[in-house]
């Protein structure tokens, strides 16, 4: 079980609190499909030991994730990824939504809105497609 | 359960000090061997060396105690499951025990060599005992100062004080007529002066150690 946490990277120089980083990394694994729905995950204590962080930080991360419906913790049985079908896709959607909002916020500060904004977004999309075909 | 830990501490002190113990026994026996060469010069030289061996072990053993505190080994020891009074007990027992090993060995060896070989007449035996007990008393003084003193200065001061007194003490003792009067006789003669001196020395030993134990047991901040 501890081998599943081998690629987690928690950084103290990252300005975000550690529990958020942990949440982000767990969500990422689900979003990408590495951790499928229903898969068991490390206990709070085990993850804390593997990451060399405090138990309370992992506990908080798990609590928040449970509140968001991403994982489920059962007394005595440990934790697992929520079995909701399409969870991975939903998380990816959420990520996208977050980035789009951020982009819109910066654009608004620069005075770019509406059609302009749409145009810029399409440009960016095209650039990505170009790179993929090369 | 705690005799075990105290026992381990005593064993530890033995391991730390056994070279010194063996060296002092060796030096003392060597001194006695020199005496056996049977000239006046070797008798004097050998006797002096003999007492020096006793004096040396008496002042070097307590140095270990001072060092234990100075070199901050005390925090390490007190993290073990013992109380401060058990530490003091282990120290008193191990130091005294460690001292007794060479002291008893050498005094017995000296008594044997007097009884068997006769370089010195047997009348010298009470004098030998009086003189041999002095490093023992000195050892107790230095040990007491080292254990009770909060800084290393006390142990050093006691060491210096004792070492500078032995010469004077020996000189004055040898001038007491009651002590020397029967030194040349072929049998052992005890008189009240000799017994009083021996008694005082023997009483001082448990007194000094007991006072040390008492004072240490009162301390509230041990480390």
């Amino acid at each position: 079980m501890s081998s599943m946490n081998g690629t987690f990277s928690i950084s103290q120089t990252d300005k975000r609190p550690m529990y958020l980083q942990i949440m982000g990394q767990i969500k990422q694994r689900i979003a990408v499909g590495d951790w499928e729905e229903g898969r068991p995950i490390s206990s709070i204590r085990q993850l804390a030991v593997d990451l060399r962080v405090s138990v309370i930080t992992v506990k908080r991360a798990y609590l928040e994730l449970e509140r968001e419906g991403v994982i489920v913790t059962q007394q005595g049985k440990g934790s697992h990824v929520a079995s909701t079908p399409g969870l991975g896709a939903r998380l990816r959607e959420q990520e996208l939504g977050k980035y789009l909002e951020q982009a819109a916020r910066i654009a608004a500060q620069l005075g770019i809105r509406g059609e302009d904004l749409e145009h810029r977004l399409r440009e960016a999309g095209d650039r990505i497609s170009e790179k993929e075909t090369i | 359960m705690n005799t075990w830990v105290v026992g381990q501490l005593i064993r530890k002190d033995w391991q730390l000090n056994r070279v010194l113990i063996f060296a002092s026994i060796f030096a003392g026996i060597l001194a006695l061997a020199v005496v056996q060469l049977a000239t006046e010069a070797t008798a004097v030289v050998g006797s002096v060396w003999f007492f020096i061996a006793l004096i040396l072990v008496g002042c070097m053993l307590p140095i270990g105690i001072v060092n234990e505190r100075k070199k901050q080994n005390l925090a390490f020891l007190m993290s073990l499951p013992i109380s401060s009074i058990q530490y003091t007990t282990s120290k008193l027992l191990s130091s005294t025990g460690l001292f007794l090993i060479p002291w008893l060995t050498l005094v017995l060896a000296a008594l044997l060599s007097i009884g068997v070989r006769g370089i010195f007449p047997r009348g010298v035996i009470p004098l030998l005992l009086i003189l041999a007990l002095m490093p023992f008393v000195g050892f107790c003084i230095i040990t007491a100062a080292s254990l009770m003193g909060e800084s290393e200065g006390w142990g050093i001061a006691a060491n210096v004080a004792c070492n500078s007194s032995y010469g004077l003490a020996y000189y004055f003792l040898c001038r007491v007529p009651a002590v020397m009067s029967n030194a040349a006789s072929r049998v052992v003669v005890w008189n009240s002066t000799i017994l009083k001196i021996l008694g005082t020395e023997l009483a001082l030993i448990p007194l000094l150690l007991g006072v040390t134990y008492f004072v240490q047991s009162r301390k509230r901040d041990f480390v």
């Binding site: 138990v55 | 901050q72 509230r220 480390v223």
Partner: protein, 303 residues
């Protein structure tokens, strides 16, 4: 003397006081629940070492109650110390003896000595049992002392500055061993450190001590959550309101930085309502909190 101590507290201090000539510990209250790591931070001379020594029964408090693993200290220190592993920065081993001798010495006393784990630690720490202590570098000595304490697997680890003076690799090894201890929820750790990064990373609870008094003591996540730095733009003519939960504001021209130790989103709104612009709300590292906290608590005392 209260008999109703909590069985699930590894450490419990109530009203502990100790007076020295130039320094006193003043009514120290401290709880460390079992299975947790408590980080003790504070400036030099704050009283961390004294508090720790009282926990070990090495110093007898003048007032107040100290219980460690349920045992009253210093009265029951011998019983308690069977299950406590203590290592402090000023602790020294016997120079003329080898590390292996020390390992045998500890093993001869404690039945919980785990020889296999001791070997693992030797390898991880890069130490040789045959080496005499006097031949070791400072970092190696610290690691040796910690090895002796870790290999016994005690129920409670009390460490005074365990990572001070260690290179980054050694520090990470120690942190690894300390978090490994947490795999067993019956074991607890209290450690004091200047290294706020280490404390921030592995502590479940944080206690702040300065000049003999406890300034803060609570779980780390809550604690870190209460502190924020708000970067404000203050247009001319606007005066920043004094808000509860803000312990300090520094202003230079039109830019200001407000430090909050009881942050709520309402604080940001209050500033915005007053006409200032909240540019950024930043989390603070434990080190930044440390500095701000000490400065603030000293101002309070002087006021």
């Amino acid at each position: 003397m209260s008999e109703n101590y909590h069985h699930d507290l590894a450490i419990e201090l109530r009203g502990v006081c100790k007076k020295y000539r130039f320094f006193s510990l003043d009514h120290i209250d401290l709880d460390v629940p079992q299975g947790q790591i408590m980080g003790l931070i504070g400036p030099n001379g704050a009283g961390k070492s004294t508090t720790i020594r009282i926990l070990l029964g090495l110093v007898h408090q003048d007032a107040g109650e100290a219980r460690v693993l349920g045992h009253r200290m210093p009265a029951e220190q011998v019983t308690a110390k069977w299950d406590i592993g203590f290592a402090s920065e000023d602790m020294r081993l016997y120079e003329s003896m080898t590390l292996g001798w020390h390992m045998n010495f500890i093993r001869s006393i404690y039945p919980t000595w785990d020889a296999a784990y001791a070997q693992v630690l030797l390898k991880r720490f890069g130490l040789l049992a045959e080496q005499k202590i006097k031949g070791l570098s400072h970092g190696q000595r610290v690691k040796s002392t910690l090895l002796l304490v870790l290999a016994r697997k005690p129920k409670l680890l009390v460490l005074d500055e365990p990572t001070t003076g260690l290179d980054p690799v050694a520090r990470h090894e120690i942190l690894r061993e300390l978090t490994d201890v947490m795999a067993d929820e019956g074991r607890s750790v209290l450690f004091s450190s200047h290294n706020t990064q280490d404390v921030e990373q592995i502590s479940d609870q944080i206690t702040f001590i300065d000049r003999g008094r406890i300034i803060d003591s609570m779980d780390k996540e809550t604690y870190l959550d209460r502190w924020r730095r708000l970067r404000l733009e203050v247009p001319s003519g606007i005066e920043l309101p004094v808000l509860p939960g803000i312990i300090g504001v520094r202003q230079e021209g039109r830019l200001a930085v407000a430090t909050a130790n009881a942050f709520e989103p309402d604080l940001a709104n209050a500033y915005e309502n007053s006409g200032a612009i909240v540019q950024r709300i930043e989390n603070m590292t434990l080190e930044e909190i440390f500095v701000a906290n000490v400065a603030h608590s000293r101002e309070e005392v002087e006021a």
